[in-house]
Symmetry: C2
Subunit: 496 residues, 2 copies
């Protein structure tokens, strides 16, 4: 077998020292697995390579046999390596060996009104009525959520609040919850106080209130392309025009294009998802975020930063936010618990910087305040410090699912298919042969009770007719495997 | 004692027969009390009149001694009669003997933009920060709500739903809850199905979505004057102009004025609260509702009907809604559980007639869907049939509170004060000498930790500078009595 014994040694000493000094014992196996994974990613270990035996790994790394076994088991669960009977562990899959990444788009360079509602409504209705395998929903499966602990928090909120949470909450939101949300900023290096935060009915309401605070109907707003269709809908409902800025699946928004667009169009605000944009899963490097904020501050354009996926990173550390680089209080950051904890609770927030009073007033005008009970329940849950622990599990699970789905796509989809390699979030963005119409594919998939989100609804300019989004929020099962196989078959046998 | 024995006999036979045939035993005493109350209202029994002894009442009405006693006790709790030691029961108060009703307003007859936000925000901030006796909040005290039963429903929803209500709910709302809301229409003679209903984050969101569905920024919308300031805020946030139509404390909107206004201004929609308008508590007669709907249908103007107080009637039956008379599906009815069951849950609804698809789309654009858990909890609560029972208690309690507050106002406020005689809802609307500025009074009351809502925020045209609203949602206690006494003192000693 070629390459069978090409195992490259770790940097033995430095690795061991790092482990002893910094890593807690129960995370040791992950640390080791991550290092092996990154060597697979860099193709230092290629597909088919044999790995060290469990015993040899244990000895070389100065770790217990059980830790070494756990590390391999973890990599196996991610589908990156496989055990062959009486032989040992072999590299099975490398993200580099999946499909090529999709190409970037070329939007027209002017502001256009949004009118996607009919198409989005049609897709939505289809999916609700008929799909059984939801590749189209970008939220975590309930099995990935801390259901029991959340329920306990709800019951405690009922029991311990003075009036069973029957009274109106403060317009700006539950004070303790706002304190807890402020603390989350620590992870990206931010310093926020509870008074900086406005609690909303989910992230979409936060985006809507922030857009409304800084624009008038008819204004042009820059967004990335492709972008989550919910954002188009908010903009349509506010009568805003859209300037689409190309976004790369790797580094996110094209800053040069944006600078040009600003000089061409009278852009009144930007709305970007810099961390794991849906559907691309791209991650804008922190230095680009800094450049972006500097550019917009120079041009006096407020930036609405949708950071809903920021906590769902697959790398080592939480990426920074644009808010971190915000020297003039002009970034309106938005977030939510909908993607990471409790979609149905509909609790999100805005950190609107100098536009805060305007956003609070708009919140009051819209629906007075967000419901009292679920704010109280989340404040209890967060105060107990459960969120960080849960996020660690969720990130791991999503990363595993992302890799598993990618492998299935590499296996079942035609060679010409291109797929993103997300570094966080929920979605894979798939480019097919340009003759294939994703809306037709969506209709065909529905006949098999499978829901995918066609590229048509991710741009106002029909740029992604041969693209679609698959979300990997559902754990990988045989049913999911079957679903991906069916979609692959539909693409392969597609008749134009 | 004058009039001591002027007790007028009931129509003995017809009353008894009615009782035997129609009234359930446990409501007998209320039936008897209501009849006595209406005789007091009509001043057939005048203040100071002695009533039949308990024994004589029992004999005359063919009811048990205990039922007769309960009837008097009930009237006493309402403050209408009093027991004098070793003498019997005497009429103590008649609503007719309270203060005169306020005068009607004369708004300017053109559409004007709304710009009340600063004043409203200032009043709100004051009240939140400093008031301890909230005469300014139009919602029921938690002690009037079925807290334990609601909590039980929440826990059951957590326990019995497949995913602990963590997933997104349908955009249009929980189906069973919509069925239950549809059933409520039975009370006003309506026939609705679950598919007619859109669940929202409270009534204000329903109003906002409906307004948005039928207007464009800059359009003129007719509302009654005075009107609840939250409605001005929604209109301000949508960039709408206001045409104020005078409303009488008795019969509500002046239909002749409205017809004139329609011919003068290009009115694109009307938003009226025909049942127990806040702050007037007025009740538009059902025949006027019919005329109103016919007028607007003829003119092709959609009517947004805010029926949030419709269930809180003090009379015998639920008043009809405009929706009842809607032959062309042009009435967009809105309601909520915020005033009758659970303010903090923020669950309301719209019945948008032919504009339904538009309203559902706007709901989805705004915040996807209303939170899953509290919709499920309310659907469980309603399915158990608990709502009707609770409403019966709540109506009784509110009527009693209304009368008690009115009596205290009659006692403590200067002679020249005029006060409404609401037939339902939560508010008393008070007109003072025109030299008195209600905003200054509000500031003075705050120094005593008392919150009232000054008339300034109930009109865009500064028509109610010497008016204010007192809500009687809190049960009548010594503290409340003391609060009203203090406000009365402030008015009496007001220095211009």
């Amino acid at each position: 077998m070629k390459n069978s014994f090409s195992f490259v040694k770790f940097d033995h000493i430095s690795l061991s020292m790092e482990i002893e000094n910094e890593v807690k014992p129960d995370l040791l196996y992950i640390e080791v697995a991550d290092r092996i994974e990154s060597l697979i990613e860099k193709e230092t270990f290629k597909i088919g390579d044999k790995l060290l035996s469990v015993r040899a790994l244990s000895k070389e790394q100065g770790i217990s046999l059980s830790t070494a076994f756990q590390a391999y088991y973890h990599l196996e669960s991610k589908g990156l390596i496989e055990a062959r009977p009486q032989s040992g562990y072999y590299v099975k899959f490398s993200p580099q060996h999946g499909r090529e990444e999709p190409t970037c788009c070329k939007p027209i360079d002017e502001a256009v009104p949004v009118s996607l509602d009919e198409m989005i409504a049609s897709v939505h209705t289809d999916l609700r009525a008929r799909s059984k395998i939801h590749f189209s929903v970008s939220s975590p499966a309930p099995s990935l959520l801390p259901t029991a602990k959340l329920n306990k928090a709800v019951v405690q909120a009922l029991r311990e609040s003075e009036d069973s949470c029957l009274n109106y909450e403060d317009f700006q939101g539950n004070e303790v919850l706002r304190q807890q949300i402020a603390k989350l900023a620590f992870n990206w290096g931010g310093v926020l106080s509870d008074d900086d935060i406005v609690v909303t009915n989910g992230c979409l309401e936060a985006l809507s209130l922030c857009l409304k605070a800084v624009t008038q109907p008819g204004d042009a707003v820059a967004i990335e392309s492709p972008t989550y269709y919910g954002i188009f809908q908010v903009m349509e409902s506010l009568g805003l025009n859209v300037v689409e800025v190309p976004s790369h699946s790797g580094e996110g928004i094209d800053l040069n294009y944006l600078e040009d667009a600003i000089s061409r169009c009278d852009i009144k605000a930007c709305l970007f998802v810099c961390n794991f944009n849906n559907p691309l899963g791209s991650l804008m490097p922190d230095e680009n975020k800094k450049l972006l904020v500097e550019l917009l501050t120079r041009k006096n354009i407020p930036l609405i930063e949708d950071d809903i996926y920021g906590e769902l990173y697959f790398g080592k550390t939480r990426p920074k936010t644009c808010k971190f680089f915000d020297t003039h209080d002009m970034v309106l950051q938005c977030g939510s618990f909908s993607k990471s904890l409790a979609p149905g609770y509909r609790i999100g927030w805005a950190v609107p910087g100098k536009y805060k009073n305007k956003v609070v007033a708009l919140k009051r005008m819209n629906n007075i305040s967000t419901n009292t009970l679920l704010q109280e329940a989340l404040s209890i849950f967060l105060q107990k410090g459960r969120y960080e622990l849960h996020l660690r599990h969720l990130r791991k699970a999503l990363h595993t699912q992302c890799l598993r789905y990618s492998q299935a796509i590499a296996e079942y989809f035609p060679e010409s298919t291109r797929v993103t390699r997300p570094q966080g979030g929920f979605s894979l963005w798939i480019e097919m042969d340009e003759k294939i119409d994703a809306f037709k594919l969506h209709k065909q998939a529905l006949k098999h009770n499978i829901g995918i989100a066609p590229g048509h609804i991710f741009s106002t300019q029909g740029q992604f007719q041969n693209y679609f989004r698959i979300s990997y929020g559902l754990p990988y099962t045989e049913r999911i495997d079957e679903g991906i196989r069916i979609v692959g078959g539909l693409i392969t046998n597609y008749k134009t």
